[in-house]
């Protein structure tokens, strides 16, 4: 059996990859994917703990996160398409119309 710490380490690596991608990347789709990566990193730690403690609540949480992530993806992609249609770019630094 794989020990818990391996799962947690992988989960942490996934999450940090997501954070770094979010911070570094300029392409809005990549940023979006980085967010998904962070969510999945967290999901992994949820299921790992659930398995370790034999508690179902962690797995239930993961379903919730997936539902929310799906909804978010639907809305977010719609926004991205709308932004691309008007700005003809996916670079977030150029989508700064609301910035002071």
């Amino acid at each position: 059996m794989v020990p818990l710490s391996y799962y947690l380490l992988l989960s942490g690596i996934l999450f940090v990859c997501g954070v770094l991608g979010f911070l570094i990347k300029r392409n809005i789709i990549t940023i979006f994917m980085s967010i998904e990566l962070m969510l999945n990193g967290v999901n992994l730690s949820f299921v790992a703990f659930a398995a370790h403690w034999h508690a179902l609540s962690g797995q239930v949480f993961v379903f919730f996160v997936m539902v929310v992530a799906a909804a978010e993806a639907a809305v977010g992609l719609a926004i991205i398409i709308a932004v691309y249609r008007t700005r003809e770019t996916l670079n977030v630094d150029q989508v700064n119309l609301l910035k002071l």
Binding site: V19, F22, L23, V92, N96, K99, L100
Partner: protein, 663 residues
């Protein structure tokens, strides 16, 4: 002490008038404004008459507690009103003369744009003045005292767009403040030592103290401080300088506030505090000396003034000096008597002067008047009456009161009497000089040729029917009846007012209960014996000098009009000093005003205000700005940098928790 629930109504009436006109006047018609102002002021007068009709010396004094005010341990002050013989006299003078001047103002101020404001201020003044004279304790009196100061400031600076008027208003207010300072300290001393400000309590406490014959004690201190207050309000040396400048205000204001009523508040206060003064002979002596010196000093300045209102202003200062002289020698009732007659004839003089100024289109310089006798006969007649009264020609009002003062002064010391008589001579001289310059000779105004203009303007074509023409051009004209009416009433009072009250010392007997216990001073030693040959002799002397002053004025300003200039030239420096009011204003400017301004500029303004207060505020603001200037770079508006901060924060928290967990 008899309760009388109507007392508080008297001051409230003008306050209501002031409030109505002040709040609604801007949109009302002038007729409505006049009606409100006159009705409320007249109602106060009617109320005063009603109180006077119900007044009986047996049940006096009356009092009424309107409301509680200060309750602090044993010390208490209430909104209380008080009516005894003294306040009754003041009440009638203030409401009576005040009402007449209200009527006059309707005519005088009719063309002014801020007519409603003027009438509202006048009513407000009446309220405060009535509060002052009807107060039952020093604190309520102080409300009135400060209030009349405020009203005076507002009215002097009524034409505030004129720099000189605004400055005069400020000057009056600031100089009065010096006097109020003394008054306040006196009140503090009373609270500390008597535990009360109520007249009856304070005077009872004072009467139980011994007379301070040797050295100065508490009562002398209180007396002197009260005198400081009185000197400010009643324009005595050294605080008289504001009154002549106060002539910048409209003429009815000069008549009401700066001649008939407000400036006499100091005399009233000193007379009201007679119980304190009679136990402090030294303070009384100071009062007498200040009064005497002021009387003489102001009268000499009056000789050389050319502005008709300035002459009257210095005359007022001088006459107030007489009143203080009377109070100082213990003849309080004589002082109040002169206060009353002075209110009649000086109010009349100012109103008549206003009528003259009105008639010649705003000119105040007497050198540009002359010959007005023909153009304005009613003004001439009434002003002549007042002049006879102030000069002390029997049997007019001024003669009785002035003679009474001089007689009482003589009983105290012949020095007071001598200076008083000299002042009477000067008074007579400058008043008749004013009359001859204004009404005698030929009209010198408007004609550009000046002294050469012998063409006396036709009188038939212009006159009373054609009043619609504007000011500043045309012939001098008589004032409308709304202005002449009060003049006539006051002239009648100037003639008979003194005769009725002065005959057989009626007035003194009436006031005697207020000033009883004034045993150790010259007051009313034996009224019957007062009619001695000596008194008649002194009477003849004072009438004589009045006649002499008249004659001299006639000689100089009617017979030989070129002579005064030559005399002035031969006197040189002395004349210049007098004409420039002895350079007192300049002296004060050098001694007090300039050091004060310089000190305020360098130390208080540049030093304390800019150096400490502003610096503290500015520097802390600068510091905050510098810190936030650095800190604001965190908020770049870049979403990913925020995320970075969040991530960094999260990392720090996790590191901390991990580190704590490992320990």
């Amino acid at each position: 002490m008899t309760p009388n629930p109507y007392l508080w109504v008297v001051p409230i009436l003008p306050l209501a008038g002031a409030a109505i006109n002040g709040l609604l006047g801007r949109r009302s018609s002038k007729k409505a404004i006049s009606t409100v102002a006159l009705v409320f002021c007249g109602a106060a007068f009617a109320m005063a008459l009603y109180l006077a009709a119900g007044f009986s010396s047996a049940s006096a004094p009356y009092s009424f507690d309107l409301a509680h005010w200060i309750r602090s341990g044993n010390f208490q002050v209430d909104f209380s009103f008080y009516l005894d013989q003294l306040s009754l006299v003041m009440l009638l003078v203030v409401t009576g003369v005040g009402f007449l001047i209200h009527i006059y103002s309707v005519g005088y101020m009719w063309d002014d744009d801020a007519y409603y404001r003027f009438m509202s201020y006048l009513n407000l003044f009446m309220f405060f003045m009535l509060t002052l004279v009807l107060a039952k304790n020093y604190l309520v009196m102080f409300i009135g005292w400060e209030g009349v100061g405020l009203a005076s400031y507002l009215l002097i600076g009524f034409w505030f767009t004129k720099d000189s008027a605004a400055a005069a208003g400020k000057k009056a207010f600031i100089v009065n403040r010096i006097g109020d300072f003394g008054f306040l300290i006196a009140l503090f001393l009373m609270i500390k030592h008597f535990g009360s400000l109520d007249f009856t309590h304070v005077f009872a406490a004072v009467r139980s103290l011994p007379t301070e014959t040797t050295g100065a004690g508490l009562l002398t201190a209180i007396g002197l401080l009260l005198m400081v207050g009185a000197a400010g309000k009643s324009a005595q040396i050294p605080l008289y300088v504001w009154l002549p400048d106060a002539m910048e205000g409209p003429t009815p204001v000069s008549a009401l506030i700066h001649a008939a009523t407000m400036v006499t508040a100091g005399v009233y206060m000193v007379a009201r505090s007679s119980a304190i003064f009679e136990r402090a002979p030294m303070a009384m002596m100071v009062v007498a000396i200040i009064g005497t010196l002021t009387a003489l000093f102001a009268a000499t300045i009056g000789i050389a003034q050319t502005d008709i209102k300035k002459v009257l202003a210095y005359s007022t200062v001088s006459q107030l000096g007489y009143m203080f002289m009377a109070c100082g020698v213990g003849a309080f009732s004589a002082g109040i008597f002169h206060l009353m007659t002075h209110a009649f004839f000086k109010g009349l003089l100012f109103l008549a002067a206003g009528s003259v100024i009105h008639g010649v289109g705003g000119e105040q310089d007497m050198r540009k008047m002359g010959g007005l006798r023909v153009y304005m006969p009613w003004t001439f007649a009434t002003m002549g009456t007042a002049t006879l009264a102030i000069a002390g020609i029997p049997p007019l009002a001024g003669f009785w009161s002035k003679d009474e003062i001089l007689w009482q002064a003589f009983n105290a010391s012949w020095v007071y009497w001598l200076i008083g008589v000299i002042t009477a001579f000067i008074t007579s001289f400058y008043m008749f000089r004013l009359m001859y310059m204004t009404f005698g000779g030929e009209y010198r105004g408007a004609a550009v040729e000046g002294a050469h203009g012998h063409e006396v303007h036709g009188l038939d074509a212009h006159g009373h029917d054609d009043r619609s023409h504007g000011h500043g051009h045309g012939e001098p004209h008589e004032s409308p009846w709304v202005m002449l009416g009060p003049l006539v009433v006051l002239a009648v009072l100037s003639v008979f007012g003194g005769w009725v009250a002065g005959y057989n010392n009626h007035f003194e007997h009436f006031l005697a209960p207020v000033f009883q216990g004034t045993s150790d001073v010259a007051q009313e030693a034996s009224p019957e014996a007062g009619k001695s040959t000596l008194e008649y002799l002194l009477m003849v002397v004072s009438v004589g000098v009045a006649g002499l002053g008249w004659f001299l004025a006639y000689l100089l300003y009617s017979r030989r009009p070129q002579l005064p200039a030559r005399i002035a030239a031969s006197l040189g420096g002395l004349y210049r000093a007098v004409a420039n009011k002895y350079y007192i204003d300049e002296l004060y400017a050098v001694l007090f005003v300039k050091p004060l301004i310089d000190g305020s500029t360098t130390i208080l303004w540049h030093g304390v205000d800019q150096g400490v207060i502003d610096a503290a505020v500015n520097n802390s603001a600068d510091a905050a700005r510098h810190v936030s200037d650095r800190a604001r770079h965190m908020q770049s508006g870049n979403l990913r940098s925020y995320a970075g901060w969040i991530a960094a924060g999260g990392a720090v928290v996790i590191a901390y928790m991990v580190w704590m967990g490992l320990r």
